[in-house]
Each structure stands twice: as C-alpha cells, then as structure tokens.
C-alpha cells in the first residue's frame, strides 16, 4: 500500500497534471469546501470590513470622503433612540410571548389530554409558510380604521371605541408583535415539542407515584428539562427581533407617523437607501452588530453561569 502511494507520487512528479492535482487526497477536501471559502471571503468578510470602513466615510457617487467619527456622532439623535427603543420593546415582548405561549401549548399538545394532536400541530405551523408581506396584507385589512373592520367590531363587544390601529404607538406595536407571534408560534411549539420528546417518561411516572400534580410536574420536571431548548428559542427570538423590518414595512411602507414603527433595520434602510446616505447607514449597521454581539456574549455567559450554579 505504502509502496503504491510512493510510486504514484513519483509518477505524479514526473508527469504532473491538473487532473492529478484535483484528484490528490490532500486537495480534494479543499475543492469541496472552496464554495464556502469563496463565499466567505467575497460575501461575508469583505462586506464586513467594508461596512466598518464605510461607516467612517461620506459616500457620494464617484466621491468618497473620510470623515472620521462624524457618522457615529450623528447616530446619537432622537430618531435613532426611537428606533432603538421600538426595537427593544418589540424584542422583549416577542421574546416573552414566543417563549411562554409555545412552551405551554407544546406541553398541552404533548400530553395525553389532547385529541387530534397531529392536525392541530399542522394547523399551527401553516402561518410560518406565509410571507410576512402577505400576512401583513391580511392584518392591515382586519385592523382597518373603519368602524366595521373586524378588529373594531371585536373590541366593540367589550365596549371599546373603534380605534385607528395603525396610527397609535401602543396599537402599532401591538400589530407588529401580533403579526410576529402569529407567524412564529407554530415553529416554536415544534421546538418545544422536540425538547419534550427528550424528557424521559420515567421521570413523570416516578413523580406521579410520589403524588405530584400536573402543575408540580410541569414546574419540577418539564421546566428544568426544557432549559436547553428554551435558551435556544430565546436566542433566536431575540436575534430575530433585532433583525425585524418586514413587520413594520407592511403596516407603514412609506414610514410610520411619529416613527411609531421605526426599527433599527428600518432606520438603516431609510438612511442607506431612501436618503442614499450609505456611510451613515453603515455606521448604524456597525452599532447594530455591536448590540447583537453584546447580547450574544451575555446570553452565552448567562446560560454558562447558570450551568455552573446547578
């Protein structure tokens, strides 16, 4: 075997061809991963570095000027803080709702107390297939301003006056959170159901023998066993929340009154593409990157320290 390799190596040296090169065992893995390396360099690393460089520039067609920290100084303005606070509120609300609700519903769906569980699981999943734009079209129509709109009819049952949903800060936020919850609930339920499938049945049986009730079992077995999947769901929901733009775009394509629906990514879009201020937009992007970086670190260390405490 060794002999053969040696002889082929020799013949290769004498008759070196491109084909041999690509077939050699050393090179093959690199050929396989080359699409990733090219895409990493061209479509990730280069834009990442260029994004930071751009954030120190004013970019006009054919003319780029270095302006130091000026873009970053400009970021500290009320509109940015509005975008930041909107996004933060949105992240907190969606994270809380999209963790607790699916966890409870998954536990229900996984229990022996539910009929037709497969049908329900599929129905709950279908919203995830819908484009946010299409979903937004429906939500706009349901939450119309007219007195006869579905939402206003429903709140009317409770004696509430018809509302202009898209024009108030609180109701505007409600619409965005509702749209997001509607779309992702089913997916998060599936995550939790996958987590529940890993909980050994014996734990519940043992607890039942000790006379534990349903709530006790949930608190002392289900919750702790679901911790890893909960950390995962919380992480993707937070990051997804900071990336949010579409939910805001469908309700206010031309910008929201008083910026009630402005998000950080929306601000990047507004400044970078609508105002054509690429340098400033890039600077907001860098700030968003830092925010997400800090949250990821916090997240990792938080779940890490919790592990040590156990």
């Amino acid at each position: 075997m060794i002999e053969r390799t040696a002889s082929t190596a020799e013949s290769r040296r004498s008759k070196w061809s491109l084909k041999d090169f690509f077939l050699s065992k050393k090179v093959v893995p690199y050929v396989f991963v080359s699409p990733f390396i090219i895409s990493f360099l061209l479509l990730f690393l280069y834009p990442l570095i260029n994004g930071v460089v751009m954030s120190f520039q004013t970019i006009l067609p054919g003319q780029t000027t270095f302006i130091g920290m000026r873009n970053y100084e400009r970021i500290l303005n009320p509109t940015f803080f509005k975008a930041l606070s909107n996004t933060t509120v949105y992240v907190v609300l969606t994270t809380v709702i999209l963790t607790i609700l699916p966890m409870v519903l998954a536990t229900m769906l996984n229990s022996k107390f539910v009929r037709f569980s497969n049908v329900f699981r599929a129905s709950l999943f279908i919203p995830a297939l819908t484009s946010t734009i299409v979903a937004g079209v429906v939500f706009r129509l349901m939450f119309g301003e007219s007195e006869s709109s579905l939402a206003n009819t429903v709140v009317g049952f409770f004696g509430v006056e018809p509302m202009e949903w898209k024009f108030g800060a609180a109701t505007g936020m409600f619409l965005m959170v509702l749209l997001c919850t509607w779309k992702w609930l089913g997916v998060n339920i599936l995550y939790f159901m996958a987590g529940l499938a890993n909980v050994p049945k014996e734990l519940y049986e043992a607890a039942e023998m000790d006379g534990a009730g349903i709530l006790n079992k949930f608190r002392h077995i289900t919750l702790p066993m679901l911790k890893p999947i909960t950390v995962y769901v919380v992480t993707i929901t937070i990051i997804g929340g900071f990336r949010m733009y579409e939910e805001s775009y469908v309700f206010w394509p031309e910008g929201s009154p008083g910026n009630i629906g402005l998000t950080i990514v929306g601000y990047i879009y507004q400044q970078g593409f609508r105002m054509n201020d690429l340098g400033f937009g890039a600077a907001i992007g860098v700030v968003l990157m830092l925010i997400i970086f800090i949250i990821s670190i916090l997240q990792l260390s938080l779940s890490g320290t919790l592990k040590k405490g156990e």
Binding site: L23, K25, K26, V28, P29, F32, V33, P35, F36, S39, F40, L43, Y46, P47, G51, M54, F113, V114, R115, F120, S123, F125, I126, A128, L129, S131, T132, I133, V134, G136, V138, L141, G144, S146, S148, S149, L150, T153, V154, W182, L190, Y191, G195, P228, I229, V231, Y232, I239, R243, E246, Y249, V250, V265, Y269, G272, A282, G285, L288, M289, S296
Partner: protein, 278 residues
Amino acid sequence: MLARDKLLTTIVTVVIALVAILALFPLFSLMLSSLRPSSELMRNGITLSVPFDQLNLNNYTYIFTEAGNYWSWYMNSIIISAATIILCLFFSSMVGYALAVYNFKGNRFIFILVLLILMVPFEILMLPLYQLMIGLQMIDTYLAVILPMMVAPIAVFFFRQYASGLPKDLMESARMDGCTEYGIFFRIMAPLMLPSFAAMAILQGLSSWNNFLWPLVVLRSNTMFTLPVGLATLLTPYGNNYDILIAGSVMTILPVVILFLFFQRYFIEGLTVGGVKG
C-alpha cells in the same frame, strides 16, 4: 380520576382548537376576501359579517387576464427560488459533506466560521453587499438576489450533521473499486443524503420565496420584482390595487400550502433545523 381526566381532555383540546382556529383564521379571511369585490373590500376592510351574496371570482378573472406585471413577479419568484435551491443545495452539501467526512487542516476552523456566519444577521451586511453588487454591476439582476444565498451556513451545518451519520465503510470500498473522491460523493454519498436534501430544499425554497428585504434593495425595475416585493408596491393607502393584491396574495401562498400538505415531514424538519441539536 377518570371523570377528571375526561374534563381535562375536553378543556385542553378546546384550548388548542381555539388557538389553531386563530392561527388559520387570517389565511381563511384572505381567501374569503379574494372573492369580494375589491371596491367593497377597500371601503370596509375585513369584517365580521361576510357579504355572501356579493362573492364572485372576478378578482381571479382579472388577475389571469390582465394583471399587469403580476405574472412577471411570479416567474421571477419561481426562477429565483429554483436557482437558489439548486445552487445552494449543490454547494452547501459539498461543503457540509467534506466537513463531516474528511480530516484536513482547517476543518475545525472552517466549521467555526460557519457557526460565526450563522450568528451574524444578514441585515448588518446589507449596505456593503449592496455596494458590492453595484461594483459587480449586478443591480436589478437575478444573480444579485441569488448570490448571497448560494452557500447557506444553516444548510452547511445541517448537511454536516447528516453526513457524519453516514457509514464510512461504503467510502472505503468505493475507493478500493477505484472510484474518485468526487465520484464517491456524487454517486454514493449524496444519494444517501436525500432526506436532508429534501428538508434543505424546502427551507431554502421557502426563505427565498418569502424573502423581502434583499430583493427589495437590489431589484429596481417593476418587471424584475419578486412576489413579496411586487405585492408590497400595491400597499398604497388608496387601495386602488386591491384586486391584484388580495387574489395575488392567495396565489402566492397557495403553492406553498399545497406542498406543505404533501411533504409535511420535510417542512417541519427543514424549518426547525437549529433545534435538532439544541
């Protein structure tokens, strides 16, 4: 005990059924609305009481006969999604496979890079990528939309996990028979990875079909728009395009829902990738 269980079953089933109805209701209303005259829909929005006597298929007749650019959007979405699926699956499976089966210098480093990209939201790179597309003169082309999706880190991750579970002795015996490493992948291992291809085709296809922000940024002319971008242009306060908007929205989600009914398992697998190892 039994009576209590029965009561509990009823309560839990009713609660879940209510949530399921709430989940399906918006899509049901959308379909119902697409049958309403667009002027009436524009005036009243979606209402609790449905004007059954006014329902008709006029919006669909309109969209199939003279709907402006709607069918170009549809074609663009099909072309872009199909190209993304084919290219992304081809490249990502190669990379994921190599990371799983070969021991080579840099393997771990590359895998860490994959995870790193997975963590960084695309939106952060949007502006510099847009600059790059201008530099490459790709603005307003299919390629601009497809290029950033060509090697998806999530797919690489998934294929790597899947390929590490494949039997390695098959590779050995194929090598004995004189099969090249490429032959081993394309003829022997890739066919074994078929279920993972199905799940990733669905994930990439769906995210491409529904992708909004990036196509919005790089596509300029109305005839190049994808469905979500095109439909979003109809979101005007005047509601003068409701016929195309509503019927067009139904036609946008219909193929996806039909595919879902047939390939449920792969949809669920594809859309919950990250949780597999969570």
